[in-house]
Symmetry: C2
């Protein structure tokens, strides 16, 4: 009996469904969507690092595309047909779609609950249009009351294609090490939902220096360095606060291969065991290495075989069972070539897996899809 | 003819010579050295993250050691005999000593030049007391005028045991991507001196959240995450500013195995090649990978075999020729055991090299000392 062909699964792939785009269009502060004369698509402005150029661009009437802030909000962000086309182009069998940052973090307490329900139902309906090809991570109304948040978890846990929640690092406003989050993490874990941890806030722009603040370096420093460090800080704070021990069944999938966690786990451990303030209180704790191999999964969005190998090794002897391929679509479109064709950003990550784990090997197949199918139960239940 | 036994070299090992300690004792703002009742050694306070607890500690008369801020300034920081004892205890043949952070960054323009001359002469004299066992990285008076800085480079390039300069990330005040630094980098490269890039400023404490600001997590987050990210940001800014191309002979040894650079180099490259602002202007540039294998060296202070392997792999096919063992002595002393014995922090890094590269292998010997002897010319000239 021939074994079924290995599935390719994309666990890191975002959408802004039409309702969400309407919310962004109605806003005057970041995040927002705004049209500029001379720019064919409306622009999506997500990061405060993009603020300085925003006013300039309006003044200059945006005659040159390079001064228009943000990124073009193409159909790749909100069209389900485009998502399926992208999947077909890149031989992706299954996508686990999620709302892109900054999710519902900016909504008022009153708005958040109803919008979350509506957005989660919208994702659910999209998945139902392509049964077996689409699953999703839901979105929580974190600015609402605890009861509303818990109701939202109960809601998405009943949605047929929901397999987890995408979570930023702000929590209820003061980070993921906030003790007030405990019942939320417990409810997520009890519902057997994965947390997909994703950055948005990066680091304060000042840490990148005056030339960054003048816009000389584009988005490179906030995206390439700020994002991964934000994720690393969030997980380390959860670890130091004991969240992984308190909610032993909590499972987290970390964006961008854990940010920098695989490379820094050793230094984190050494700093703890050499810290007079912490050593005694954390005696007998599990190490970051143990948490990595027991409660953490990493996506494969790290753009190098060096990163893939380190991430797999950091996840223990069975690390190759804990890594899952992703694309970060619709972010990082190819420049100057047809966006309907193959994306270099996807190729970079697929090539990195092949180079690190040998194309066609069992290990490679696990990372490219087998792990996601098993861990996230990507079949009709 | 039997080959000479492989040398063990420590390229990351600091001192505060007595003159420097006197300067710190005279200060009322960080960095400073202060004595507290009930604490046997004076305390060294280097980081602004330690400020909140400073006032509290004074008020409470510091009856419990845990509330005393900073770290004990033991003889390990300023005693040459103690450095030699530490080397003997850990079978280290040669140490390349350097002033510890924050170097001379806080001195006035007038003070910096004379203090640099004096400190560099003090390091030189220490090395002369143990010929062949000690070399050093000099210190630059970066707050002084360009002429004074260039004179200081000329001075240290004449000192028999000087092999480079230790540099923080602040440069002349606005970072290492400041065009005004160009003649300084050129002069350093022309003098065949290595730059040892080392963090000090970390990240703003606010990024670690309210529990860090209350002191709950000790020094872990600033040291384990802030320091490596500071280094990574500094190098990436230099790269984006074209410094490595402008001063093609500049060689840099990066502390803590490059911070997070080996893990993030792929993401940096992808972010550049997908950035509309940067792609055109950087066309034809060398990649970060090329800079890593042509102008960058990494120390082996990363506390895990995962980190060692990633750092070696990121440095190219000959990456094992570009990594150099270090200890970070006198930081991270063992807690609760005799500081005159073996240090766990040293063992963690030595074990990581052995685990990553096989004990006794040629590769392991290169990293443990051979590379440093060759690259830094650690012999009488």
């Amino acid at each position: 009996m021939a074994s079924s062909p290995a599935k390719v699964v994309d666990v890191h792939t975002h959408m802004y469904p039409p309702e969400y785009v309407k919310i962004l269009e109605s806003r005057n502060t970041i995040p927002l969507v705004r049209s500029f004369p001379g720019s064919s698509d409306p622009r999506l402005i997500l990061l405060s690092a993009e603020v300085p150029s925003l006013e300039e661009a309006s003044k200059e009437q945006a005659s040159q595309d390079v001064v228009v802030p943000g990124r073009p909000l193409t159909k790749h962000y909100s069209s389900l047909d485009q998502k399926i086309h992208f999947m077909d182009t890149h031989n992706i069998d299954i996508s686990v779609i999620s709302l892109a940052n900054p999710w519902l973090d900016f909504l008022s307490s009153d708005e958040a609950g109803p919008v979350a329900t509506s957005i989660n139902n919208e994702f659910s309906a999209m998945c139902a249009l392509h049964p077996g090809r689409l699953f999703f991570f839901g979105t929580l109304p974190l600015t609402a009351s605890l009861n509303v948040i818990l109701s939202s978890i109960a809601h998405i846990s009943q949605l047929k294609y929901c397999r987890g929640v995408i979570l930023g690092t702000s929590g209820l406003g003061s980070g993921l090490d906030d003790p007030a989050l405990r019942p939320i993490f417990s409810a997520i874990a009890d519902a057997n939902l994965m947390v997909f941890l994703h950055p948005h806030y990066g680091l304060p722009n000042s840490v990148f220096g005056p030339r960054q603040e003048k816009g000389e370096y584009g988005h490179v420093l906030p995206l390439a360095l700020g994002f991964p460090m934000e994720t690393t800080i969030a997980v380390t704070r959860m670890f130091l606060a004991g969240v992984f021990d308190q909610v032993r069944t909590l499972k987290m999938l970390l964006a961008h291969s854990g940010g920098t966690l695989p490379f820094l786990a050793g230094r984190i451990e050494s700093c703890i065991s050499h810290d007079g303030h912490l050593f005694a209180s954390l005696h007998g704790r599990r190490t970051m290495w143990e948490v990595l191999r027991e409660q953490v999964y990493l996506d494969a969005v790290v753009y190098s075989d060096v990163g893939i190998k380190a991430a797999v090794a950091a996840s223990g002897d069975e690390g190759v069972d804990r890594m899952m391929f992703g694309t970060d679509h619709p972010f990082f479109p190819p420049l100057g070539t047809d966006e309907d064709g193959e994306w270099e950003s996807v190729g970079l990550n697929a090539q990195a897996v092949k180079k690190a784990l040998a194309e066609g090997s069992l290990e490679s197949e696990k990372v490219m899809g087998g792990n996601a199918v098993r861990v996230l139960r990507l079949f009709e239940e």
